[in-house]
Amino acid sequence: MMSFNPNDLVAILPELILLGATCAILLIDLFLKPSQRDVTHWMSIAALAVSACFVWQGAPAAGQGLSAFNGMFLHDGISVVLKQFVLLMSGLSLFYGRNYMRERQLLIGEYYLLILFATLGMMLLVSAGSLISAYLGLELLALSSYALVALNRDSSVSAEAAIKYFVLGALASGLLLYGMSMIYGATGTLDLARISASIGQVEHPGWLAFGLIFLIAGIAFKLGAAPFHMWLPDVYQGAPTAITVFIGSAPKLAAFGLAYRLLEGGLGGLSEHWTLMLAILSVFSLAIGNLFAIAQSNLKRMLAYSTISHVGFLLLGFVGASPAGFSAAMFYAISYSLTAAVAFGMIGLLARKGFECEEIEDFKGLNQRSPWYAGIMAIAMFSLAGVPPLFGFFAKLLVLKAAIDAGFLWLAIVAIVFAIIGIYYYLRVVKVMYFDSAADASALPLPSDVPLRWVISLNGLALIVLGFAWGPLFDWCNRAFGI
């Protein structure tokens, strides 16, 4: 019954290309001098771009999913959309991180390799067709991320963050694995499609429910949903900003993919149980994320709490357990990662050697120094706050609509109440940039990394453009879910 079909290799061609390129970069980088690190940089970007082209080219026809390797690997519209954006966000974070890492003598080959491996893990994760491949992808992502956070070996803050991340992440993986084993015990299979088919006729439904709870706890850890969010602020703050850009954007897409594959793909039959659990997680995330963010003075930490609140919003899309809801949630994940990349990227852009620019106060008077970058940052803040006509508003609109359509009107109202609270801390950043004057007028010069300046500007303007032209992206998400 286990047979190898050569056609399966075509399905994983983008992953194979990325893997091959990563191995090649690993070898080439060994022979490069530190001054030649740009070669690694552009090779990594090229590897991501080529892989993205093959994802695009190999996309299955609308509504038709393929599975390869006996169902281990799914190749459908959802994985195509998520992979495209995972590759895009990874590429963006390489742009945003280069100057920052170079100034701190951290621009080493490992930085690129770990990000590429993490990206590979995410691609595997969003295509997972069985519990094993989901776990493999997740661990490849997680282990690379732990190492990335610890990349700055001399910083005790980074080391502390990495240890916390590692310990809590390992705990989450353990929970997830334990839940998977229960589900395997109940259904006798690791294949998500077969799990889904056998849900109605399992002998011990209790095991299944038990497994589901552990699974949800593990997913919530990876998403950063409260009350499983403890690692997130420390890691975001402790990691070098270039790494935070990466961890804060692409893995959210992958975590959405994980949640979708496991909950809907595998345990869709139990949706009456997990929708309510996710609704409760959503309320906790909205409350804790928004309330704690107000008290922060460190921008990275504030954005970390804001991430938690955005996860709460993202979960609104899950409570209906309907394709339209998942589509809205995926749209939300895309919108959030694009916006968060600007916000974290801007911290990296303004940072200098010896000056991290991560306190909110450090943004004082940015409008005087550089109206352009103050404007880009303000766009990101208003988009995160969900003010139209920016991209973030429409993402919020869609998940609120999904929740209301699913009959969770109360949850939608809770969400908007916290959105109002949340708006305060985003506005505070705008206030600092626009209404306060810089502490010393002899402002720091902006970095001369031209690609960085261009890419972050385009990324910021995309938030406006997508605020008007979000229809095609929305249609794309809908098509992926067969709507």
């Binding site: 139209p388 006509p389 609109l397 609509k401 908007i416 705008v430 209404f435």
Partner: protein
């Protein structure tokens, strides 16, 4: 007539102008001239809107509709009826004066200020022209951003507090409306206002929606007791920001009641009209007294704005009782018409009053009444204008302030003598606080030596105050063009009120 998408031009011309000003306005002089040109061009573009609108036919004209998001049936749909046309012309007219008025006082980051003003103008026109609820909401919320920046950068000492309060307060109101709109979308499958108005809704659904809309628009108008953001915002805003805020942004609230509450939830509006009427009457009397004791000129005018805007809500909601209980659609028409005239008139009068205070503030950098006195002795022209606007503010016949209030009180009389009596109280209290302000600021002896050195209006200030004065007198003496413009549209609204939905 060649089909120019006139409304789109009116919306996007100032917004494109804003980007242009930001890009080219390194030199403040360039920014000033460029923004005036853009504002004038927008004003010019609104003239064909006024002339081309077929007022006797009424209804929505200049219709534009393009699919925006197919999956949700969202449309980029614009159209204007008589009410919209009146408000759009008010917007383009006031924006020109605001930009000219800001030439002198704004001297830092001029291009950003002018760009924010122009962007705000475009978004306000968008609010008045949108016939798709989501598009309306986008403009409705987006205009908070430039106003937030205007108050926050160019405002007074407590500007940060005021602007955050302004933003969060109004955001709070409108986001409940968003939930209501999503709910209506679930019922009807689209976002067009017409579909919303035709959707059958049960009594409890209507009640929930009514209150969702009420929160949004009551905060925007603002009505007592959710008015507290307004005095702070006005006091801290720069003169131009105050003028736009009072003259146009408050009208968005009244306009929202006309477009959303009345047609979409007519039965709930009737059932809870007493709430709105009671809130309006409290505003007329209580806020009038509050205005009386202010020692800050801007605060005084801000409170007076709240009291005057209460006539708008009173006129709109008294119409429901008149139509449905008394079966008197003519009186209802008078009420709605009066509310509309009051909106336009208040736009001119409050804009003019804030401009006057701006003129004084530029000379002495104080808003306190006690710092002035005897201004007419050194600034006779200014004194004349100020007294004229003050008279309009207390509703003297012959000025625009009289027409709207008179119509609303007349309509209220047909419903209930006591409502009319309380509303008419404004004629006393309004006169009291306005005339007392005039007495203390304009007349009397010059006590402050700095006031003695004041120079009278310069040409720029003359243009601004002169234009406002012309508008105030024109509407006051001969309001017929204005009422004719809106009459058929008002009739359609009143007719729609007769139909129950439940």
């Amino acid at each position: 007539m060649a089909q120019w998408p006139l409304l789109s031009v009116l919306i996007w011309l100032p917004i494109a102008g804003a980007i242009l000003v930001l890009a080219l306005g390194r030199d403040p002089r360039v920014a000033r001239w460029l923004s005036v040109l853009v504002a004038l061009a927008t004003l010019a573009a609104s003239i064909p809107l006024y002339l081309g609108y077929d007022a006797p036919a009424g209804g929505m004209q200049f219709i534009e509709s393009h699919a925006w998001i197919d999956a949700l049936k969202v449309h980029y749909a614009l159209a204007a009826d008589g009410i919209s046309v009146a408000l759009i012309v008010l917007t383009t007219f006031t924006s020109v004066l605001v930009i000219i008025g800001s030439w002198g006082p704004i001297d830092k980051r001029v291009s950003q200020y002018m760009a924010a003003m122009l962007a705000l103008e475009g978004m306000l026109i968008g609010v008045f022209a949108a016939t798709d609820a989501l598009l309306f909401y986008v403009f409705f919320e987006a205009m908070l951003i430039p106003m937030f920046i205007i108050i926050g950068i160019w405002g007074g000492p407590r500007r940060v507090y005021a602007t955050l309060k302004f933003f969060i307060y109004t955001f709070l109101g409108s986001i409940f409306m968003l939930i209501g709109l999503i709910y209506l979308h679930m019922k009807t499958g689209e976002f067009s206002l017409q579909a919303f108005a035709q959707a059958p809704l049960g009594p409890s659904e209507q009640a929930w929606l009514f209150f969702a809309f009420l929160i949004a628009f009551a905060i925007k108008v603002p009505m007592w007791p959710v008015h507290t953001w307004l005095p702070d915002a006005h006091v801290e805003a720069p003169t131009g920001g105050s003028v736009i805020l009072a003259a146009i942004m408050l009208k968005v609230g009244g306009y929202g009641f006309i477009r959303f509450s009345l047609p979409i939830t007519p039965d709930a509006s009737q059932e809870y009209a007493w709430v709105v009427i009671a809130m309006s009457l409290v505003a007329v009397v209580y806020i009038g007294y509050v205005a009386l004791v202010q020692d800050d000129m801007k605060k005084l005018i801000a409170y007076s704005s709240i009291a005057h805007m209460a006539f708008v809500t009173l006129g709109l909601f008294i119409a429901l009782a008149l139509v449905r209980v008394h079966g008197n659609p003519d009186a209802a028409r008078l009420g709605v018409q009066g509310a509309m005239v009051q909106m336009i008139s208040h736009g001119f009068v409050s804009g003019a009053m804030f401009s006057c205070i701006g003129v004084l503030y530029d000379r002495l950098h104080s808003r306190m009444i006690r710092d002035y006195g005897g201004v007419v002795n050194v600034m006779p022209w200014f004194g004349a204008f100020f007294v004229l606007f003050a008279m309009a503010n207390c509703g003297l016949p012959g000025t625009s302030g009289f027409v709207g209030e008179f119509m609303v009180i007349l309509a209220a009389f047909q419903d209930n003598f006591w409502i009319a009596a309380v509303a008419a109280f404004t004629l006393i209290i309004g006169a009291a606080y306005t005339l007392w302000l005039v007495k203390r600021v304009i007349f009397g002896e010059v006590t402050n030596p700095k006031v003695a050195k004041f120079e009278d209006l310069d040409a720029r200030e003359w243009i601004v105050l002169g234009s406002f004065a012309a508008a105030v007198l024109a509407v006051g003496v001969y309001p017929k063009p204005l009422t004719d413009l809106m009459d058929s549209s008002v009739l359609q609204i009143v007719n729609a009120l007769m139909l129950s939905k439940a």
